[in-house]
């Protein structure tokens, strides 16, 4: 019998709390804690893993133009109205939390800060799950709109993003003032991830309020590279480097549904099998792999894929 070797890690991953209950001054039914790992993913015998990974449903403020039929069929009845969309994923699909993507504020579409403020106000009134808010990726526009989102949702302890090494000051200042958490995005680079965390915490935001988006690739599109970067970050965090001991958020849906293998219609590649199976499988496998790398929040799109990944998490955590 080979003696079991258990690693004794010197440190743990920071715990980040998303969402504030009524008692805490917010309007959520519950809050969600992520992180807190004292060992690598699923090594329950070695150390405690107090928080289960969670899955956020993507909800857009505008109709997505490039989603394939396989996704459209679930959301087209509600996607002209973000409130309906959010209500559907909460009531029908039992979403743990919602990731509101503000694609509509992009200069090409041009939604105004006022429209977004109104939208958020309504979401807070009607939706009672914790909220993630993501900008459009245009630095200037994000710097204009996201601080307003931060103010409108003050006290709700949202997770807001994303900031990068070149553009982090504006949003960090807002998040700091309004009591939210922040998403720090780095381009699959362990050093930049760490540098950005230092820059943000230099501004006074505690490390316990930072979630790292390490930037991920879908299956077949650099997933293994993503994996090794996440693993190295996690190992460094467990080994005592407090600065990068942050939990991860992974944008699985966004990456998966860009892949040809996931979104191609049946008619394009009949030999690839049915899109209705192929697409969700692609998203699911990407998600499950990232769980092995240490993902704490998965942002996903396909309800069936999400259901399967949830089952997987439940099963893994029941042993």
């Amino acid at each position: 019998m080979i003696k079991q070797h258990l690693e004794n890690w010197s440190s743990e991953i920071n715990t980040v709390t998303i969402g504030a209950t009524k008692e805490e001054g917010g309007s959520c039914r519950y809050n969600i804690k992520i992180g807190g790992e004292k060992t690598l993913p699923f090594l329950f015998k070695e150390g405690s893993l107090p928080c289960k990974p969670v899955i956020a449903y993507e909800v857009w403020d505008t109709v997505p133009s490039d989603w394939p039929q396989e996704l459209v069929r679930f959301y087209k009845d509600v996607w002209t109205n973000p409130i309906d969309w959010a209500e559907k994923v909460v009531k029908e699909y039992h979403a743990d939390l919602i990731c509101l993507k503000l694609a509509g504020i992009h200069p090409e579409i041009g939604k105004t800060p006022d429209e977004i403020a109104k939208l958020l106000g309504e979401i807070l009134r009607k939706i009672d799950v914790p909220l993630i808010i993501i900008g459009c990726g245009d630095d200037q526009k994000d710097n204009l709109v996201l601080p307003i989102c931060s103010q409108v949702t003050k006290g709700q302890r949202c997770l807001i993003g994303e900031v990068t090494q070149d553009n982090y000051r504006t949003l960090t200042a807002s998040v700091l003032a309004d009591g939210h958490n922040i998403i720090a995005q780095s381009p699959i680079d362990i050093n930049i991830a760490k540098q950005l965390n230092i820059l943000i915490s230099d501004m006074g935001l505690p490390l316990e309020r930072i979630v790292i988006d390490p930037t991920v690739g879908a299956l077949g599109y650099g997933l293994e590279y993503t994996y090794s970067i996440m693993e190295r970050l996690r190992l460094a965090g467990l080994n005592g480097d407090k600065v990068i001991a942050s939990p991860f958020i992974c944008f699985v849906g966004q990456e998966t549904w860009r892949a040809k293998e996931a979104k191609a219609e049946d008619s394009e590649f009949p030999q690839w099998g049915k899109a209705s199976r192929r697409g969700p499988l692609w998203e699911m496998i990407t998600a499950v792999t990232l769980l092995q790398a240490g993902a704490d929040i998965l942002v996903m799109r396909h309800p069936e894929a999400i259901r399967k990944v949830k089952e997987y998490i439940e099963l893994a955590y029941s042993v």
Partner: protein
């Protein structure tokens, strides 16, 4: 092809050009040097010229303001000739090759920050170690004339007399000297001065002159850098330094670093042009030495050059292209001593030129000379030599082993490739303090002149002070907007170091975010190369007993600030020793002592070259160093509390 006439003002020089040629290349062929720190890529925006008459074609650039465009300003590198032209070149676009003034040279050699005793005196080392035996020695002889009892040949007679003074088993003489020997000996009444040159293990009679000229024997030591050329005139009899001069390397118009120059060498006549630009600069220095010291060119009998491998290739007009291509092999590391005239260097036509041997393509004779002069190879404890230049070189070792590597740092610390950068000469801001509350700037300039720009040591101070004052974050971005010294420009923010009114220019002296990025990359390259080399040999920074700092600005460097920005490791200050231009000091030693040359040859063979690019950790280490002071702050424990 259609020939077009281009006239440059205010030089009033007209030259023929081909249609479609860039203004930059036309100006170079006219012998007019225009600033072009990006090497003609259209990036730096320093080659502004004004079109007075004629037609040109140009490419869009963000480097010109609307107002400049209206005035007919073009970038010379992006603009091609279409018809006969009249072009004005404004003063700020000219590359100035002015030499350093004596007091600047003094500063360069003595240092401003460190007390002068901090700087190793290479002269004392020389006396301690190497016997006086210069590359070329003059010997006055009075030969007994032949008679019937003593009938050996004229040449044998000369050898016999020389051997009475020196023990030289093998001697050689060129045919030209032999041809004129009989006439010369007789007309000089058998009283001649011979110049003996050490050439590749043998001794050559370089020169035979009538009468006694042995008191007049001069040599030159050169440090040929990618950005700066330094030369010294030395009395080979007394070992005295008669003068020191430094100029910018005129090759800068063809590109800022060795790589772009090697690429340029591949173009038509490229190698020829690079060779001439270099040799012209060296000849200019020699000419000025001759005039100022009132000596005869013929009494300058030898030249000793230390330079990086590429510079030596270009000096000797040797194909450099394989230096750049994997597996990075130079044509020659050990170049035999040749006649200086063969390389176009104007001294005595039969005078000798010798180059300090190199280690590899990217660790050249300058590093070998530096290792020799700082004495690292004699140390018992582990030491490091860091030469901070366009190509940064690092040597690690002691009397037991020597290993080296090279890091491409770029010319930022030499004042090139940064908006208001300049060489450490009169008017350069070289020391700075920024008030952390008001952001008021206090600075001192070289020669206490009105500021004209910022030199390397000034940039190190500025970065450290901006970090401490919280003006920039640890990634080098300027944090604020609402202050008169901070402005937002198309290419990012900038910080005003000196307002127009304080300067001798008609514009403010600024540091931009792009400058900071360049400086950050340069410091990251040097630090990570040092760190990887030390790790590769199984050591740690704490094992290092001494760090020798060399380089054009080595003397001025503020160690504390250099640690704050993460250029130098966070070690005790007494471990750092300035050696200034160690390459030039080494070249001088070798010029004056044959044993020093033998030692240099031995060192060049002994130093192991370590190729950073094959180390899988180098990129990672470099990325981690792209932060102030470093991504891993634990490696800078003392800096942690300062910023």
């Amino acid at each position: 092809m259609e020939k077009i006439k281009v006239t440059f003002y205010p030089d009033n020089k007209t030259i023929e050009a081909n249609k479609g040629q860039t203004l930059l290349s036309v100006a170079i062929s006219a012998g007019i040097y225009i600033n072009s720190s990006c090497g003609g890529e259209g990036v730096c925006g320093r080659c502004k010229v004004i079109l007075k008459k004629g037609e040109v074609l140009t490419q869009p650039t963000g480097r010109l303001t609307l107002e400049e465009r209206k005035r007919g300003v073009y970038l010379a590198c992006l603009t091609t000739v279409q018809s006969d032209l009249e072009i004005e070149i404004p003063e700020e676009s000219r590359l100035s090759f002015d030499k350093l003034s004596p007091e600047e040279v003094e500063l360069r050699l003595r240092g401003l920050y460190g007390e002068s005793e901090d700087i190793l005196s290479s002269d004392s080392l020389l006396d301690e170690v190497f016997v006086h035996s210069p590359l070329a020695t003059k010997l006055y002889l009075e030969l007994p004339p032949p008679d019937l009892n003593d009938r050996i040949s004229d040449l044998e007679r000369l050898y016999r007399e020389i051997r009475k003074n020196y023990e030289i088993p093998i001697m050689q003489t060129g045919l030209a000297n032999i041809r004129r020997l009989s006439e010369l000996l007789r007309s000089a009444d058998w009283k001649v001065t011979v110049t003996l040159g050490k050439r590749n293990g043998t001794v050559e009679i370089v020169l035979i002159e009538p009468n006694d000229t042995s008191k007049r024997n001069y040599g030159l030591a050169f440090d040929i850098g990618t950005t700066t050329i330094c030369g010294e005139l030395i009395d080979l009899n007394t070992k005295k330094i008669l003068g020191t001069k430094a100029i910018y390397n005129k090759q800068a118009v063809f590109g800022p670093d060795v790589i772009t120059r090697i690429i340029y060498a591949q173009e038509q006549d490229g190698l020829e042009k690079l060779h001439h630009a270099l040799v012209d600069g060296m000849n200019q220095i020699i000419q000025e030495f001759i005039q100022e010291n009132k000596i005869d060119l013929n009494d300058v009998t030898c030249v000793l050059c230390a330079g990086n491998t590429t510079m030596i290739h270009l000096l000797l007009k040797i194909e450099p292209s394989y230096i750049r291509k994997e597996p990075y092999v130079p044509t020659a590391n050990f170049v035999p001593t040749i006649r200086a005239a063969e390389a176009g260097i104007k001294i005595n036509p039969r005078g000798l030129l010798s180059c300090v041997p190199g280690v590899s393509s990217y660790v050249g004779g300058d590093v070998v000379a530096g290792t020799l002069s700082c004495g690292l190879y004699k140390e018992k404890d582990l030491c490091v030599l860091i030469d901070i230049g366009t190509n940064g070189e690092i040597v690690l070792g002691n009397n037991d082993f020597l290993v080296s590597c090279a890091a491409s740092a770029g010319p930022a610390f030499e004042g090139s490739g940064v908006v208001c950068g300049m060489r450490a000469s009169s008017g350069a801001i070289q020391k700075i303090k920024i008030d952390p509350k008001t952001y008021n700037v206090e600075y001192s300039t070289i020669g206490s002149a009105l500021p004209r720009g910022i030199c390397g040591s000034g940039y190190i101070d500025i970065l450290a002070q901006m970090l401490k004052a919280g003006i920039i974050d640890k990634s080098g971005k300027i944090k604020f907007k609402n202050h008169p010294r901070i402005r937002e420009k198309d290419f990012g923010k900038e910080f005003v170091v000196a307002f127009k009114e304080e300067t001798s220019l008609d514009s403010d002296i600024v540091i931009t975010e792009a400058d900071i990025e360049n400086l950050k990359r340069a410091k990251a390259a040097i630090f990570s190369a040092t760190s990887i080399l030390i790790k590769h040999m199984g050591f740690d920074f704490k094992d290092i007993a001494k760090i020798f700092i060399a380089g054009g600005f080595g003397n001025y460097l503020d160690i504390k600030n250099a640690k704050i920005i993460g250029l130098l490791p966070d070690l005790e200050e007494e471990k750092f020793i300035f050696v200034g231009n160690s390459s030039l000091a080494g070249a001088r030693q070798i010029l004056l002592s044959y044993p020093a040359m033998q030692k240099a040859n031995e060192l060049a063979r002994k130093i192991t070259y370590f190729e950073l690019s094959v180390d899988p950790n180098y990129m990672e280490e470099y990325m981690a160093a792209l932060f102030f002071p470093h991504t891993d702050i634990l490696r800078f424990p003392n800096v942690k509390n300062l910023i």
